[in-house]
């Protein structure tokens, strides 16, 4: 009998009902009135399609010897229109755990904050920090209970707990995967190419940060929906730390500096 966590949608009135306490802990799932349409499935599909383009992003995270490296771009796009170049896609859940944002910005922000609340409550009740496993499982259970209702979340939970570095991928379909290398978003194929090529377990923090930065840069170069600023965060035993936030345009000229061609040189000498 799995206890699904539906506290996010619980209204205050339902808590005063007599049934909540003694029913053995099995709560009914939240529900809302469906719109009166002939083709509800089609309507649902359209609603999901409306949100889908918002997964235009590149985020990545990987575990290496020294901890976890998390990086993301900062562009938000609506179709062909770039709505923002400065979106914070790495969310600070608590001082030792980070979440990345891909999909619906509001969904990611709200549920990550909700997860932060739950983690803090767990700490207070049990006098110990929650593990990355536990935190990702809490989020995955919540997202699973909203399956099919139009949430769009593709996130990675990265953190450091008693067992060392932890990295999980959690999405709004209810999936949850443990792994050591993930990239999420429309730019992820490009990021994977660079990341998988350059990855070694025993890198130093600087090497890993440079790999993450380069992977994000290459994704923003080829993917129109990614761009802005490449942020790189490091999660170690002492918690997370923001390492850098470089504009990808400037990174381009850093990696591929302009070499003046021979024709230009002739003209200058004159």
């Amino acid at each position: 009998m799995m206890k699904l966590d539906t506290s996010g949608l619980e209204s205050y009135t339902s808590q005063f009902g007599a049934c909540s306490g003694l029913s053995g802990g099995i709560s009914t799932s939240p529900s809302f009135e469906l719109p009166s349409i002939t083709d509800f499935d089609g309507f649902q599909k359209e609603a999901i399609q409306m949100v889908k383009p918002a997964k235009g992003t590149t985020t990545l995270a990987f575990i290496f010897k020294e901890g976890v490296m998390v990086a993301a771009d900062s562009r938000a796009s609506m179709g062909g229109y770039i709505s923002s170049q400065s979106v914070k896609k790495i969310i600070e859940i608590n001082p030792y755990m980070l979440g990345t944002m891909a999909g619906g910005a509001a969904d990611c922000q709200f549920w990550h904050r909700n997860l932060g609340i739950k983690c803090r409550l767990h700490e207070l009740a049990n006098k110990r920090r929650i593990s990355v496993t536990g935190a990702s499982k809490l989020l995955a259970n919540i997202l699973y209970s909203y399956r099919g209702m139009g949430l769009s979340v593709g996130t990675m939970i990265a953190g450091w707990d008693e067992t060392g570095p932890g990295l999980y991928y959690v999405d709004s379909e209810g999936g949850r995967l443990k792994g050591s290398r993930f990239s999420v978003g429309s730019g992820s194929p490009y990021a994977y190419g660079v990341l998988d090529n350059g990855y070694r377990y025993d890198m130093s923090v600087e090497e890993a940060a440079e790999l993450a930065r380069r992977a994000i840069y290459h994704a923003t170069f080829r993917d129109g929906a990614s761009g802005g600023v490449a942020s790189v965060y490091y999660v170690g035993s002492a918690g997370w730390k923001k390492l850098s936030g470089d504009d990808v345009g400037e990174l381009h000229y850093k990696y591929y500096p302009v070499v003046p061609s021979s024709v230009e040189q002739e003209m200058v000498e004159e």
Binding site: M1, L22, G25, N126, G134
Partner: protein
Amino acid sequence: MARYDRAITVFSPDGHLFQVEYALEAVRKGNAAVGVRGTDIVVLGVEKKSTAKLQDSRSVRKIVNLDDHIALACAGLKADARVLINRARIECQSHRLTVEDPVTVEYITRYIAGLQQKYTQSGGVRPFGLSTLIVGFDPYTGVPSLYQTDPSGTFSAWKANATGRNSNSMREFLEKNYKETSGQETVKLAIRALLEVVESGGKNIEIAVMTKEGLRQLEEAEIDAIVAEIEAEKAAAEAAKKGPPKET
């Protein structure tokens, strides 16, 4: 005072919840149970009232598992115990499912105590008539713990405690004779405490031992052997007391 003891949700003028106190009376009538914590082991002991000839004694287990690393013994209404134990077992698995980790002893004790408290503050129900002794090892730190809950919903950790019939005498004995022990010494201490109030013999005592590997119920023969050891030690101590004066 009689007017204030019908409904659980009514305080008496001098601040008593009579139903809860009557529940504690029910506990005092239940069979004796004792728990002792050692450095690497926790021992639970329960008084076994003689089973009827035709009764299958194995179906009357008084010390039960809540999970691989947590066990519980109780004193009081056995039917109430069954309900509480089932809810606790579900909660242990639910916790494993939601955070992929086993419960700590403190967590499940808090849950059981919370459940017992809920039934002291709702309409139309009566409190659970039992006190529990919960033992186990913390799955992260490997530290052994012993907790006790009672019908009012309070709980606390103990080095050694007793509940049920004659629990006061057992607790007095434990207070006088407790010291940090490990392994077989802890088992002996638990049995000695029980023997204060129970007629000796493996037939009347049920002992279970929780180590890092899990719960193990001791066989009757094992218990008899330890009881014999204890009697021998007692006799030797008596003899030693009588011995030296004669020599002078």
